[in-house]
């Protein structure tokens, strides 16, 4: 009885996890923009991995294997969002923007430029002459 219940539960989580995995990987191909594909990647990283490894934990029972799977889940849940953030941040810094992104007119004007210039003026003082020539000319 108990075994059957566990089997049903793990089947359910396997089917759900497989569904999320397939949706996520299909979204990686079908979505039109890097910033949209980020959502698909996060589906695979959270729901797919979580459900499939949860099904494995149910199948393994109360053993060392379950502890190992729990460690893997913990690690993936920490590193997945971190890696996604790193990729998104690198893409943003490189100048890529979402298509149809709207500028916020009400925002205070051009803050990032001001801070950037400040840091440029103050920091290269130590190295200097070439930078100063540039700005002077």
């Amino acid at each position: 009885m108990m075994e059957m219940l566990i089997d049903i539960l793990s089947w359910a989580s396997f089917v759900g996890g497989a569904l999320f995995l397939f949706i996520g990987s299909l979204g990686m191909v079908r979505l039109g923009d890097f910033w949209a594909r980020l959502h698909a990647a996060s589906i695979v990283d959270s729901a797919g991995v979580g459900l499939i490894l949860f099904g494995m934990m149910l199948q393994a029972g109360l053993t060392l294997v379950t502890v190992k799977i729990a460690i893997i889940v913990l690690f993936l849940f920490i590193t997945g969002p971190t890696a996604s953030h790193a990729v998104a941040n690198a893409a943003f810094v490189s100048g890529s923007r979402p298509t149809d992104m709207v500028e916020d007119i009400t925002a205070p004007k051009a803050k990032p430029k001001v801070t950037k210039r400040k840091s440029r003026k103050t920091k290269p003082k130590a190295t200097t002459s070439s930078a100063k020539k540039k700005s002077g000319a």
């Binding site: 191909v29 790193a86 890529s96």
Partner: protein
Amino acid sequence: MMFAFVTIVILVCMGVVMVRLFSGPTLYDRVLALNVFGTCTVLLIGSMGFLFARPDFLDIALLYALINFVGTIAVLKFFRYRRLGDAPHDAEIIMVQENEEDRTAP
């Protein structure tokens, strides 16, 4: 039966993600696809461990998760600073950014 199903689904997903990995227009698409591919590989190693009744594979899966994360960060760092050693100084970063702006501006 269960694990055969899961393994086949994961293999199919890896194949589908491979399309984006090879055809991604930008570098960041490829890095993202590589990250998803690595996550799928961790799942594949785990489920194959169950399929062949050798749960020791889970250690390898954990190790692969670690390497996958470090590899993603390393690739991003390399393509931002063009080197993998110690991080360059702040002034140098600013110079690099200025150069890139100069290159992209006109």
